[in-house]
C-alpha cells in the first residue's frame, strides 16, 4: 500500500483528536481524544518505519527503531492513562462532574 494512505489516515485521526479535545467538555472524552492523537502518531511512526525498512538496504535492522519507539510510547501512554483516569475518578468523587470547564480554579 502507498505510504500516503497511512499519512492521510493518521492525519485524519489526529485532527479528529484535536477537534475532540477542543470542543468536548467531558473529561473522559477529552482523554480519549488525546489517546486518539497519540495513536495517530504511533500509526505514522510504524508506517514510516516499515517504509524505510523495505526501501533502504542499510542493514537488517534499519528502520526498526521507529517501531521500538512506538512500544515506548504505548508503555508511557498506558502509565499516563492509569494516572489520568485515577485523576478523573478522584475529580468525579469530589465534584460529581467530569466537565473540564467546571474546573477553572486556576483562574485569577
Amino acid at each position: 500500500m502507498p505510504i500516503h494512505y497511512y499519512v492521510i489516515l493518521s492525519a485524519t485521526l489526529f485532527c479528529i483528536g484535536i477537534i475532540g479535545v477542543l470542543t468536548r467538555r467531558n473529561a473522559i472524552i477529552v482523554f480519549m481524544c488525546i489517546e486518539l492523537m497519540l495513536n495517530a502518531v504511533n500509526l505514522l511512526l510504524v508506517a514510516f518505519s516499515k517504509m524505510h525498512h523495505g526501501s533502504l538496504l542499510q542493514g537488517a535492522n534499519s528502520g526498526i527503531d521507529g517501531q521500538i519507539f512506538v512500544f515506548f510510547i504505548m508503555v508511557v501512554a498506558a502509565a499516563e492513562v492509569s494516572v489520568g483516569l485515577a485523576i478523573i475518578v478522584m475529580m468525579y468523587r469530589n465534584v460529581h462532574s467530569v466537565d473540564i470547564n467546571f474546573l477553572n480554579r486556576l483562574k485569577n
Binding site: 484535536i18 479535545v21 477542543l22 467538555r25 473540564i100 470547564n101 474546573l103 477553572n104 480554579r105 486556576l106 483562574k107 485569577n108
Partner: protein, 644 residues
C-alpha cells in the same frame, strides 16, 4: 637648582598638610610657627632665585614630568621663574609671611583646631598662588588659578556658622567660575590652534593667529581676569568677600590673588599688544571700574568695605595701565598696592581687633591716642594710596596715568578724577577712624588697646615698604634711567615694546608738561585731603544719605540689578522647570511607564482565564502559526529584508 625651584611651592603645601591633618593635636603656637615658617623659607628661596634671575637675566625653566601627554600633544608640569614671576614670588611670599605672622595674633581667639584649619587654608592658598605665577604654561597657571579660587572660597566662609558669610563665599566662587570659563576657553583655543600651552612657544608663534582669533582669545583671557581681579561686571564678589577674617582680606582680596588677572595679562602682554581692539576694551573697563568703585567707596561706612572698593578701584587702575600698554606701570602698581593695601587692611584689622569686631566707622573716632602704632602706619598707608609724593602710590599711579595720557588724554582726566576720589575716601576713612572724639560705647572705649607686637611689627614693615617702595620706579622725568623696575622687567615686555615702537605714531609727553601735570595733580590731591580732613575729623552726627548719596551708599544698586536681571530670571526658569516641566514631563513619563505596565498586565491577565480548552486552543493555533512560519521562512525573510 631644580629642587630649589620645586621647594618654593612645596613648602607651603607641606605646611598645609601638616596643619590640616594634625589640626587637632597641634598647639596654637606650633601651628603658627609651622604656618609662618614654611612661608618664610619659601621667601628666602624666592629671594635667592630673584637675585639669580637678576644676575643672569635669563629665565629659569624646569620641567618635572608630563602633566598631560596624548599622542604628540604634551603639557609638561614645568615651572618658569623669570623677572616677572620672581617679582610676584617675592610679593606673595614676603607679604604672605607678614600676614601669617599677623594672623597668629589676630586669630588667637579661635579654638586650636580652627586656628590650624585657618593656617592650613592660608598655606594652601600660598601654594596655589605660587603655582599660578610659577607655571611655565597656561595649564599650570590654571591649576593655581582654580586653587586660589578654592582657598578664597574656603577662607571667606571660614566662619561657616554665619550663613551670610557662606553666601558671600558662594558668591565669590560663582563669580570666579564665570571668569574661569572664559580663561578655560581661551586655553582650549590656544591649544587647538598651536598644540601647546607653554608660554615661550605660544608667544613665539603669536603671529600665526589671525587678528580676529587673537582678539577673541585675549578677550576670553580678559574675562578670566575680570572674574579673578574683580572688574566690571564681575566685581561684586570682592566687597562681599570681606566676610572673611581681615588678614585674609589683606592677603587674598587685596595683595595677591586679585592681582592674578594682572599677572596673566602682563604675562601674555605680546598678545594684547598685537590684538587690535582688546587693549582698548581692557583700558575702558579698567577705567570704568576704577571710577565706579571709587564713587561707591565715598559713601561706605564699613571700614573693610571702603578698603574693598578701594581695592576694586586700584585694580581698575592696573587694568587701565595694562590697556594703555604701561605694563611696567601696572606691575609696579601691583607691587606698591600690595604694600599699602596689605598695610591698610592689617591696620583696619588691628582697629577691628581693638574695637571687638566693630566695623562701622561711624562708631569709631579718636583712636589716635589709643593705638599710636596703628595710627601712624595707617596714615602712611593712606598717604601712599592717595598718591602723595614721595610715597609709593604716587610713583605707580603717576606712571599709569602718564601711560593713559599718551594713549588718550580723556583717560588721563577721568583717571585723575578717580585718584582725587581715592584721596577723599581714604582720608574720610582715616579721619572718621582716628581723629575726633570716640563715638562708640563706653565699654568699647574701656577696652581700647594697642595691638600686640605680632600685629604691629608687620604693620611697621609694610609701612616702611609703602613709604619707600616707590623709589624702585622713579620716572624718567626725575632722573633718566632711574626706573629700576622697568630696567629689571624690560626682557618680559621687550617684544611689546618693539612692536609698539614700530606701530605707534609716538606722541610722547614732554618733560615740561609732565612736570606741570604732576604738580597740578599733587596740588589737587593735597587740597582734597585737607578738605576731607576738615570735613570729617570733628564729625559727631551722621545724617541719613539722600539722593545720589543714598544710591552710592547702596552701591549703585548693582547687586539688586544683578538680582533682577540674572538671579530672578534664573530662579523663574528654575521654578518653571521644577513646577511645570518636572511635574508634567518628567513625573508624567516616570509615572506613565508604571501606569502602562499596570494597565497592560491587567489586560494580559485576562488571557489566563482558567479554561483548559482555551489554553489548548491557543496552543494549537500557535503551533499552526509556527509550522506555517517554518514552512514559509524563505518568503518571510525576503519580505522582511525588503522592508528593512
Amino acid at each position: 637648582m631644580n629642587n630649589l625651584l620645586l621647594l618654593i611651592p612645596l613648602l607651603p603645601f607641606i605646611g598645609f598638610l601638616v596643619n590640616g591633618l594634625f589640626r587637632k593635636s597641634l598647639s596654637k603656637s606650633m601651628t603658627g610657627i609651622i604656618g609662618s615658617g614654611v612661608i618664610l623659607a619659601a621667601f628666602v628661596i624666592s629671594l635667592v632665585l630673584f637675585f639669580k634671575v637678576k644676575g643672569s637675566g635669563a629665565p629659569i625653566v624646569v620641567s618635572y614630568f608630563d602633566f598631560i601627554s596624548v599622542d604628540a600633544f604634551r603639557i609638561p608640569f614645568a615651572f618658569q621663574v623669570d623677572q616677572l614671576s620672581s617679582l610676584f614670588l617675592l610679593i606673595i611670599t614676603g607679604i604672605g609671611f607678614l600676614i601669617h605672622v599677623y594672623s597668629t595674633a589676630y586669630m588667637n581667639g579661635e579654638r586650636p583646631e580652627h586656628f590650624a584649619r585657618y593656617f592650613a587654608y592660608l598655606n594652601l592658598f600660598v601654594f596655589s598662588m605660587l603655582l599660578l605665577v610659577m607655571g611655565a604654561n597656561f595649564v599650570i597657571m590654571f591649576i593655581g588659578w582654580e586653587g586660589v579660587g578654592l582657598c578664597s572660597y574656603l577662607l571667606i566662609g571660614y566662619w561657616f556658622k554665619n550663613n551670610n558669610y557662606n553666601y558671600a563665599a558662594k558668591k565669590a566662587f560663582v563669580m570666579n567660575r564665570i571668569g574661569d570659563l572664559g580663561f578655560l576657553l581661551a586655553i582650549f583655543w590656544i591649544i587647538a590652534k598651536l598644540g601647546t600651552a607653554t608660554y615661550s612657544d605660544v608667544f613665539a608663534q603669536v603671529g600665526s593667529f589671525t587678528p580676529t582669533e587673537l582678539t577673541a582669545i585675549t578677550l576670553l583671557l580678559f574675562v578670566g581676569a575680570m572674574g579673578k581681579s574683580a572688574q566690571i561686571p564681575l566685581y561684586t564678589w570682592l566687597p562681599d568677600a570681606m566676610a572673611g577674617p581681615t588678614p585674609v582680606s589683606a592677603l587674598i582680596h587685596a595683595a595677591t590673588m586679585v592681582t592674578a588677572g594682572i599677572y596673566m595679562i602682563a604675562r601674555s602682554n605680546i598678545m594684547y599688544t598685537i590684538a587690535p581692539y582688546t587693549s582698548d576694551i581692557v583700558a575702558i573697563i579698567g577705567l570704568a571700574t576704577a571710577i565706579f568703585a571709587a564713587t561707591i567707596a565715598l559713601k561706605q561706612n564699613d571700614i573693610k568695605k571702603v578698603l574693598a572698593y578701594s581695592t576694586v578701584s586700584q585694580l581698575g587702575y592696573m587694568f587701565l595701565g595694562l590697556g594703555v600698554g604701561a605694563y611696567t606701570g601696572a606691575v609696579f602698581n601691583v607691587m606698591t598696592h600690595a604694600f599699602f593695601k596689605a598695610l591698610l587692611f592689617l591696620g583696619a584689622g588691628s582697629v577691628i581687633h581693638a574695637m571687638h569686631h566693630e566695623q562701622d566707622i561711624r562708631n569709631m573716632g579718636g583712636l589716635k591716642k589709643h593705638m599710636p602704632v596703628t595710627h601712624i602706619t595707617f596714615l602712611l598707608g593712606c598717604l601712599a594710596i592717595a598718591g602723595v609724593p614721595p610715597f609709593s602710590g604716587f610713583f605707580s599711579k603717576d606712571e599709569i596715568l602718564v601711560g593713559a595720557y599718551n594713549e588718550n588724554p580723556l583717560f588721563y582726566y577721568i583717571g585723575v578724577a578717580g585718584a582725587l576720589m581715592t584721596a577723599f575716601y581714604m582720608f574720610r576713612l582715616y579721619a572718621l577712624t582716628f581723629l575726633g572724639k570716640f563715638r562708640g560705647t563706653a565699654e568699647q572705649q574701656h577696652h581700647l588697646h594697642e595691638s600686640p607686637s605680632a600685629i604691629t611689627i608687620p604693620l611697621i614693615v609694610l609701612a616702611i615698604l609703602s613709604v619707600f617702595g616707590g623709589f624702585l620706579g622713579i620716572p624718567a622725568v626725575f632722573a633718566e634711567g632711574a626706573h629700576t623696575l622697568e630696567n629689571f622687567l624690560a626682557p618680559i615686555f621687550a617684544a611689546s615694546a618693539t612692536y609698539n615702537e614700530s606701530h605707534t605714531t609716538g606722541h610722547h609727553l614732554s618733560h615740561q608738561t609732565e612736570w606741570i601735570m604732576m604738580g597740578a595733580v599733587t596740588l589737587l590731591i593735597v587740597v582734597v585731603i585737607a578738605f576731607a580732613w576738615r570735613a570729617y575729623s570733628r564729625r559727631e552726627k551722621f545724617v541719613e544719605n539722600r539722593g545720589l548719596g543714598k544710591v552710592l551708599e547702596n552701591k549703585w544698586y548693582v547687586d539688586e540689578l544683578y538680582d533682577a536681571i540674572i538671579v530672578r530670571p534664573l530662579h523663574l526658569v528654575g521654578g518653571f522647570i521644577k513646577d511645570v516641566f518636572e511635574r508634567s514631563v518628567v513625573d508624567g513619563a516616570v509615572n506613565g511607564v508604571g501606569r502602562l505596565i499596570q494597565y497592560s498586565s491587567r489586560q494580559v491577565r485576562l488571557i489566563q482565564n482558567g479554561q483548559v480548552g482555551s489554553y489548548i486552543l491557543v496552543m494549537v493555533l500557535s503551533l499552526v502559526v509556527i509550522i506555517l512560519i517554518l514552512r514559509e521562512q524563505e518568503v518571510i525573510f525576503t519580505a522582511l529584508r525588503r522592508i528593512f
